[in-house]
């Protein structure tokens, strides 16, 4: 049983949200360290007190009995990672079948300095170096004056090479505003490249927030046709493009089904086009995706369902662009140093404390 921190209602231990008020129950679940008995959040891998690796089975429940008014209305997942346990006092009920008020036991006091996750328990100097390296890595592309146009030109050259001039191409904008920083410059360059070839771009999205990017692209390219948002993800695409006798709305019937470019943030954005449209229409699909999606889509490229597959990260490796991406390369190197140095330090610290 889990007691809701907001309204004190009793919920099943499998519930993620309160059945009465809908409050988030994630913060009310704790893992108790078998070594020192300290309560930890479910997302913690180590004990915040002794750095012991926490076993998955030590799931217990807790209630915030006091000061529940300080709980936030919009729960912030990041807070769980950075702040460890909330400021509110906790009450701990180990027996799941008993009434929590009867079996409540007071928790041991948690020292303020140990409410931090493992990384922030590193020695101050090392922590400072790691944070400075991370911040420095973000500035590297500006310091080395990387040329974003070189990357965009490479995207146009590689992705659009198989597209015939003076044709019509369907361009699916399958990314939300969060990924615009990574993909929007490429999308702009691709549309410019298509316009230069005399090709008509027909823009469409099945991402709920993709319209914010699509409208911006359509506004910057007068020749582009804006089909707008296709509701329902896979269902909407199947109905509009995949089903020969589907009730196509007038705008959708203008969409060409010979060749298309998908610009996507996640593998799902490309998969749904391949599964619902390409499998029935046998069209040529080219994909420009976020670095996080490229690897997951490799099987589709190997099976020739995707004619081309690129991400900004793999385009930066192409020979003509390499020299214009020095800052990106230095930044990635610094990131690698942070990961190796940080992981080794945490490992050594845990060993010194005898937890591992």
């Amino acid at each position: 049983m889990v007691i809701c921190p907001t309204c004190k209602a009793h919920n099943d231990s499998k519930d993620h949200r309160c059945s009465v008020c809908g409050g988030n129950l994630a913060g009310a679940r704790l893992r108790v360290c078998p070594n020192c008995g300290t309560p930890n959040l479910l997302c913690d891998l180590y004990c915040i007190q002794c750095l012991q690796l926490l076993p998955a089975a030590e799931l217990e429940t807790a209630a915030f009995l006091k000061d529940s008014s300080s709980a936030d209305l919009t729960p912030d997942p990041l807070a769980m990672v950075t702040q460890g346990l909330p400021e509110a006092r906790l009450d701990f009920s180990p027996a799941q079948t008993h009434d929590p008020e009867d079996s409540a036991q007071p928790l041991p006091p948690i020292p303020a300095e140990s409410r931090l996750p493992a990384l922030l328990q590193l020695p101050c100097g090392l922590r400072l170096i790691l944070v400075l390296l991370l911040l420095g890595a973000c500035l590297m592309p500006m310091v080395w004056r990387d040329d974003p146009q070189a990357l965009a030109d490479q995207a146009v050259a590689e992705v659009l090479e198989p597209i015939a001039p003076n044709s019509t191409v369907l361009v699916a904008i399958e990314y939300g505003p969060a990924y615009a920083g990574e993909l929007q410059p490429m999308a702009e360059a691709l549309l410019d490249g298509l316009t230069e070839r005399g090709t008509v771009s027909v823009l469409v999205t099945s991402h709920p927030l993709g319209m914010a990017n699509l409208e911006r692209l359509a506004a910057g390219h007068e020749g582009a046709v804006n089909l707008g948002y296709v509701l329902g993800g896979a269902l909407g695409l199947r109905l509009m493009y995949g089903q020969p006798s589907g009730c196509m709305p007038p705008a959708a019937s203008r969409a060409p089904l010979g060749q298309m470019v998908v610009i996507a943030q996640s593998p799902v954005g490309v998969q749904r086009w391949l599964e619902q449209v390409q499998s029935t229409q046998r069209m040529q699909v080219l994909a420009l995706v976020s670095a996080q999606a490229e690897l997951a889509l490799e099987p589709y490229r190997a099976s020739s369902q995707l004619s081309r597959l690129y991400s900004p990260a793999s385009l930066a490796l192409q020979e003509p662009v390499q020299t214009a991406q020095t800052g990106w390369g230095v930044g990635l190197g610094m990131l690698l140093v942070v990961i190796v140095a940080g992981a080794v330090s945490i490992c050594l610290l845990a060993r010194r404390r005898g937890a591992l």
Partner: protein, 223 residues
């Protein structure tokens, strides 16, 4: 509102969200509430504009041809009524149709667009690997087939320990999954994590670049 105010609003919002790195604060919580509310409203507006408005127009313009859309509209109203009055009991038919159609589209699409083509590639890679005489091709095909089977074995055997009663084939299958399959899965997990890091790193760089450009342009205007 003039278009040149967009960057200023964006700058304030970026700084407010970025202030989360300094700790949880009021500015961040206000910006987050505003952002979540706006994103939810925008998403719902797109949904209404994409699904309902054009179809209502169709029913009004050509009622004889599109009368069936009206039936679904009435069924859809049942869903809304049910959410407002839980005792109404009018949502079973629309929920059933929705669940059935969406499940069928997802399952059949995954099978036709992912399952069958990938199985075909798996078989297609194995056969030329057997029939060819070039060693690199044989090695490549062999590695791919063993890798795929090992990971499938890891899924199949996850959570179960090898029992003495199993035959040698089952034991080998289990061993393949526990060792090679699990190892390959972890290695790929690391590579996928690196991909996510690179994507977010590029977004971070673009945000820093945006801040620098906006501040520079504001300073130029002030001069």
């Amino acid at each position: 509102m003039p278009a040149n105010t967009y960057p200023i609003i964006g700058l304030v919002l970026t700084v407010a969200i970025g202030s989360r790195l300094l700790g949880r604060n009021v500015v961040f919580r206000v910006a987050l509430s505003l952002l979540l509310g706006t994103a939810a409203g925008y998403g719902l507006a797109m949904l209404l504009r994409g699904a309902l408005v054009p179809r209502i127009q169709l029913i009004i313009q050509q009622p004889r041809q599109y009368w069936h859309l009206g039936v679904f509209m009435l069924l859809g109203l049942g869903l809304v009524v049910q959410s407002l009055w839980p005792k109404a009991a009018v949502d079973e038919l629309p929920l059933g149709i929705l669940a059935g159609v969406v499940s069928a589209v997802l399952l059949a699409g995954a099978l036709a667009g992912s399952g069958i083509p990938q199985l075909r590639v798996l078989v297609g890679q194995t056969l030329p690997g057997i029939t060819t005489s070039a060693w690199p091709d044989i090695l490549r095909a062999g590695l791919m087939v063993i890798g795929t089977l090992a990971v499938l074995a890891a899924f199949h055997r996850s959570g179960s320990s090898p029992s003495a009663s199993l035959g040698w084939l089952a034991k080998s299958w289990s061993w393949l999954g526990r060792t090679l399959g699990r190892g390959l899965l972890l290695f790929s997990g690391g590579a996928l994590y690196a991909g996510l890091l690179m994507a977010l790193y590029r977004i971070l760089v673009s945000r820093v670049d945006y801040l620098q450009q906006t501040v520079t342009s504001i300073l130029e205007v002030l001069r």
